[in-house]
């Protein structure tokens, strides 16, 4: 029962926003919101398994910009065909993930590693981009991004694909069980024969790869490879906020992929519902909601350990 109770928090918050701003109830509004938030959702999904293992990836926002810039660099400066440049974005994300994973395996705290690579990949993005960012990708990219597939907006299709992959990985494979085991107690997992190092490395690579895909989508959306991509909205923090709002325990060991999805919808409803609030006040409100959610989740965890000792690792 309490398992499901966690989902009540985001649902309730969305309900609050619906009361405050009834326009959020209009499905037409959500077409646009889903297009604008699919990228954030993918990043939140990407870091969900890492957070469950007790790790962190703060670098994803910078990796998005890095991957976008690599695309522009390959296409404009090195003259590769656009198709190869697009694949280059994904490879760049993958490479960033390998760097993160390797450093984490070297024994440095994931928070420190990805805080450092947050700066490194942002710096690489600015350096590689030069004084004049690539700004003239063909219109066909934006047309594709604005289009639909099987009646759903293309960004939503990508998000659903990411959801399925992460959901199956976390909740329906032996790796998923090991991910929870690592988050619960690394030492115990190690003694139980869990390949902690391989798995951890793999999750950072996956996260980098997904950030690379988001970088590619940003190129399509804005038809430019902007080194400052994601900086003003602070993408990495939005992704973390989605995960927290979705009830994934930030210290690891507990959480559900569906929670992250709900958390993304909640953050989207929160920020989009505040259209009439001056932009300078919005971070304050977002922060208040985050704190409120964190308190409720903490209370739920305590209740559960009181009622059924040993539970809470779903």
């Amino acid at each position: 029962l309490l398992n499901r109770a966690e989902f009540l928090v985001p649902v309730l918050m969305v309900a609050v926003m619906l009361v405050i701003n009834p326009r959020l109830g209009n499905p037409v509004v959500w077409e646009r919101i889903s297009r604008n938030w699919a990228g954030v959702g993918l990043l939140a999904l990407a870091i969900t398994p890492i957070v469950i293992t007790g790790g962190f990836d703060l670098s994803i926002g910078s990796v998005v910009a890095f991957a976008a810039v690599v695309n522009g660099f390959l296409w404009r400066d090195l003259g590769f065909p656009l198709g190869i440049a697009l694949v280059g974005s994904i490879v760049a994300g993958l490479a960033a993930g390998i760097v993160n994973g390797t450093l984490v395996l070297a024994g440095i705290s994931p928070l420190v590693v990805t805080l450092a690579t947050l700066a490194v990949f942002r710096g690489l993005a600015y350096g590689l981009s030069g004084p004049q960012p690539v700004d003239d990708f063909p219109q066909s990219l934006a047309t594709w991004w604005e289009g639909a597939f099987l009646g759903l907006p293309v960004p939503v299709c990508l998000f659903l694909l990411g959801w399925i992959i992460i959901y199956v990985l976390v909740h329906h494979t032996w790796m998923g069980r090991m991910i929870f085991a690592i988050g619960d107690n690394v030492q115990a997992a190690r003694f139980a024969g869990v390949p902690v190092r391989t798995l951890t490395f793999g999750l950072y690579v996956l996260s980098g790869l997904m950030a690379g895909v988001v970088g590619l989508t940003r190129v399509c959306e804005f038809r430019s490879a902007r080194p400052g991509e994601g900086e003003s909205e602070v993408l990495e923090l939005q992704a973390v906020a989605c995960v927290v709002l979705g009830g994934v325990r930030i210290t690891g060991g507990a959480g559900q992929v569906g929670g992250t999805v709900l958390g993304t919808i909640t953050l989207a409803a929160l920020l989009e519902g505040m259209a009439r609030i001056p932009a300078r006040w919005r971070p304050l409100i977002t922060g208040a909601f985050l704190v409120a959610a964190a308190i409720v989740y903490e209370a739920l965890v305590r209740l559960r350990t009181r009622w059924e000792p040993g539970a809470g690792r779903d």
């Binding site: 309730l12 009361v19 405050i20 646009r32 004084p131 003003s232 932009a279 300078r280 409100i285």
Partner: protein, 329 residues
């Protein structure tokens, strides 16, 4: 849980004064206008807001003035997408990118919202562009003033915002066309971007001074770049040898005009630009706007409209040590 939910409602409700449908006493729906600067929290756009509010009060318009905290086109698009789903009657925006703003402006027009641009134009999908001064007038004023100060001879550097910025690139292009005809002994160096950051601007201006020993002047094209150039000239002890001319607000430049580093500041009145934008919105609402000729815009009187869409505020103003204290924006 209920307690926290009600806390959330409370916080949000407190900060939502304008939510719901605004109606005046008679029960008639008020004209709702959203106005978005390139960036918030800088003197220039605060002055625009002041003028916009003045006109909104005069005309009984419900005005929402807000924009991104960074001069970022992506943020502007996201915010405009939100505004489109609110029932605005008119949206006026100062776009950070004239091409990328296009699709979102089209979405607004498709929903029957009147779309204006002010301060900087979009390539299409707007009904009217409220322009401060024609590009030619600004370019000429900058080059003429610089020529006057340095004796129409020598190398002049240009410090801009970014190379894509629509206004700055138009002004640069026209300066480069005008200067060789009128002052053949002057030479304009290629523009250097300052990314609208004072720190980067000062560094770039210092580079410019050090790498061009014959530099006679610097033209600063924004309210960030101009004081940055003046600051660099002071820090390098080049006051009197390198002249600084540019576009900025009097308040940003008073310090440098008083110290003698800067002789002339060129600008229009941003307060009037904001005022005119809301006046034009009102004229559009009443169906009194025209594509060519003059229209009457409140206290500004007769205002010129050209090319079917371009509304011109007027000629540029010059601020010198003689008059700069009369202005406060």
């Amino acid at each position: 849980m209920g307690r926290w939910a009600s806390f959330g409602i409370l916080v949000t409700a407190l900060l939502l004064p304008g939510s719901g449908c605004s109606r005046d006493g008679a029960g008639v729906k008020k004209f709702r206008m959203g106005m978005m600067p390139k960036i918030t929290g800088i003197a220039y756009f605060n002055a625009c807001e002041k003028g916009a509010r003045e006109a909104a009060d005069e005309l009984g318009i419900d005005l929402h003035y807000d924009g991104p905290a960074k001069d970022d086109i992506a943020e502007q698009i996201r915010m405009l997408d939100q505004w489109i789903t609110e029932d605005y009657d008119c949206i006026a925006v100062a776009p950070n990118d004239p091409a990328k703003i296009g699709p979102v402006l089209k979405r607004a027009r498709d929903r029957g919202i009147a779309v204006l641009t002010f301060d900087a134009d979009a390539n299409d999908n707007r009904q009217y562009f409220i322009n401060q001064v024609t590009y030619d007038d600004i370019a000429r004023a900058l080059v003429d003033t610089m020529a006057e100060e340095i004796g129409a001879e020598g190398e002049v550097g240009v410090l801009t915002s970014t190379l894509q910025a629509p206004n700055q690139s138009e002004w640069s292009r026209r300066m480069k066309e005008y200067q060789p005809q009128k002052y053949p002994k002057m030479k304009l160096l290629p523009e250097i971007p300052s990314q609208e950051s004072s720190k980067i601007g000062i560094d770039k201006a210092k580079d410019m001074i050090q790498s061009n020993p014959n530099l006679k002047g610097i033209i600063g094209l924004t309210s960030i770049a101009f004081p940055a150039a003046a600051e660099a000239v002071e820090q390098q002890n080049k006051v009197g040898q390198i002249h600084v001319v540019g576009l900025s607000t009097p308040n940003e430049m008073k310090k440098y005009v008083k110290s003698g580093t800067v002789k002339t500041v060129i600008l229009w009145k941003p307060v009037d630009l904001g005022y005119l934008t809301v006046q034009v919105a009102d004229l559009v609402r009443k169906g009194q706007m025209k594509g060519e000729g003059t229209v009457s815009a409140g206290r500004l009187g007769a205002i010129q409209v050209h090319h079917g869409y371009e509304v011109i505020l007027g000629p540029p103003l010059k601020f010198t040590s003689a008059n700069i204290d009369e202005y406060d924006f």
